[in-house]
Symmetry: C2
Subunit: 156 residues, 2 copies
């Protein structure tokens, strides 16, 4: 497993994402570790991230799936190209579709584990599937369609 999260290699000028930007001090700072076959993310919701008393807010889980799926797609695309992640690698994806199924309520008070796999990886898009576990129990499942774009398109 790579020692650094893939988000550490997002270019400085665009690393402001509320979900996963390391330069957004108000954000969630979601981190994706790529182990060669899966993207792994661990996140402990804050007490105020509730939906109902004792259960995690679904919109937060959707956000975790979103950013972590992008991170997983970016890591997998580097591997497929035989390249190490780097600030200037120019491999960037954005979300085209986010589909989240809430299988059962996700309990608060435990660290969540997200395991993501790249089901499809092409020149222009990737499809990433994710399972979210709390205490070993799969609570949520997600599928994200990620579209690859030139990173210069984001310098706006």
């Amino acid at each position: 497993m790579n020692q650094s999260p893939i988000q550490d290699y997002y270019p400085d000028e665009i690393a402001v994402c509320y979900g996963c930007g390391r330069h957004n001090p108000d954000g969630l700072q979601i981190q994706t570790y790529w182990d060669g076959t899966e993207g792994i993310c661990r996140f402990t919701p804050r007490p105020y991230h509730a939906a109902f008393p004792g259960y995690v807010y679904g919109g937060l889980i959707a956000s975790l799936i979103d950013c972590h799926s992008m991170g997983t797609a970016i890591a997998a695309a580097h591997q497929a190209a035989g390249r190490e992640p780097a600030l200037d690698s120019g491999i960037t994806f954005v979300t085209a579709n986010l589909n989240v199924s809430y299988l059962k309520p996700t309990p608060m008070g435990v660290e969540l584990l997200l395991r993501s796999k790249v089901r499809e990886l092409g020149e222009k898009k990737a499809i990433v599937t994710t399972s979210v576990y709390a205490d070993g129990m799969e609570c949520v499942r997600g599928e994200v369609v990620a579209v690859r774009i030139p990173s210069r398109k984001l310098d706006l």
Copy 2:
């Protein structure tokens, strides 16, 4: 249009949702106004809700669609039952599936308008579709499957 958002009628003990709970001071305080045929929500993202510089974070938009769809389903279910919203009405929905398509980047710095319609409303579930507009331009589209549950199930 009802003068109060539907979230004002969620029972006190469960109104802690990070997205739309009026008793969550750290939350987004999303509000749904029902006009008889559509659910209307207006929300201005904070400066830190960015995805990339100048554009709104997709996870925030997914959260808006999620809570606003629930609010729309709850309002429509009251209307279908010929009842006024009330703290003890016992009509509650939770999200089973959230599907969000990002049609184009959503610009920061403007109020977002969400317009939601109930495509299907049954005894046990509702399907709500939403369009998200920025400056009159449709940027995101969502479809949510909401499942109706007894509100006592949430007193955990």
